[in-house]
Symmetry: C2
Amino acid sequence: MNMIEIARGKETSATRAAYLLVRDMILTGALPAGEKIKIEALRKRLDMGASPVREALSLLTSDMLVERIDQRGFRAAPASHANFAEILKLRCALEDMALRQSIERATPEWEERLVLAHHHMNRAKESATFEDAHKAFHRALLDNAASPMMERYCSQLYDLNIRYRNLAASEKTYQRRDISTEHAEIFEAAVQRDADKASTALLSHYRLTGDYLAKQLAGLQG
Amino acid sequence: MNMIEIARGKETSATRAAYLLVRDMILTGALPAGEKIKIEALRKRLDMGASPVREALSLLTSDMLVERIDQRGFRAAPASHANFAEILKLRCALEDMALRQSIERATPEWEERLVLAHHHMNRAKESATFEDAHKAFHRALLDNAASPMMERYCSQLYDLNIRYRNLAASEKTYQRRDISTEHAEIFEAAVQRDADKASTALLSHYRLTGDYLAKQLAGLQG
DNA sequence: ATGTCAATAAATATCGATATTTTTGAAAGG
DNA sequence: CCTTTCAAAAATATCGATATTTATTGACAT
């Protein structure tokens, strides 16, 4: 049973299966940035009708992973240095706000969720589930802001950033910096409910990663 | 010839026509907040197949004007005080950033665009085109930030706010405050390239309008 | 009355075929 | 040699019909 059948089996609707699969294809670069997405080819590859594919692509527009051009179909969102810089800037602004709001509303329950998310991430080091655990940790940090729109924006920006990480990873070098120390710093500050310290640590984490990635992305136009 | 035919004639694709029409229906309240949107009914009303309607609704999901629930269709995004407060907060944060960036990059060309936008808005006072001119003025303020994602977010949030204004307008009272003075203040500060002053004026404009609307929206849950 | 269950009705999701539009590529003209 | 033009090919957009899923109703038991 291949990935497509698994996704179709698990997910209730063909549209949702297509959404998740295409999303993954764009994030991993299987559908390269800026490239035209041909409905017919995708339709066959995913083994479903054109309607759910089109609908999935329309939904991916929300996430700024797909661009829709009236009467001439869809394309994977282009990647550029300028776009990457914009994502970094917006992330810093929004996550600063979300994290402060999260800490402001801190409860023992949130603290426990955070402890677990951090633990799971450390546990998953080097494993295939690390990416998921990492995302879950970052999500848990902001969760408590109880601000659905902000969460949505942050989640979208996280994914867009992952895409650039994957783009950079296809270049030769690998991350050297000790990420887990940075995560621990953010985590400790959040648990201590020190918003300034936590935010500073989080933003510095993003900016360091950003600088690092920007260097790897030298082959990008824009 | 009715509105639908006009929209279909002007717009190249049925999907785009549906997108604009349904968007308008939600912003004006013709499709009430939180209400289920039945494909078949819309399909007949817009006189087109189900596919473009579904696709338009999927696109409106980007704008947070429509919610999609797998296997049980679409609904107009619910409205609540909490949601309204969130929109206001995000607008303030993002537009502050965008306006400062816009002013930082100020050029004579931008200044001229701003002058015109402000003039058109004043000219359109009391006219049916005021809403468009008002939106154009606010857009022009942020335009020069040259940050497509930020512009998109700001534009989305502007529309979401308009929806609440329309919701409030259906209540009895009307705006008393002198809006044009506030606009003039923002405008003058921007032209003087005083970012702090401009941002303060803009945010105060939003917060005053926000407070005013919040009072009108007493009939809302949440 | 109240809750459950099955049968029915309604609505969504999806398919396959067709109409429209854009793209391609080769021939003609400057 | 470069542009323009037009027909063929390819791709998108849309429709109408059908399969699936969810919601409703009313009979029946508690």
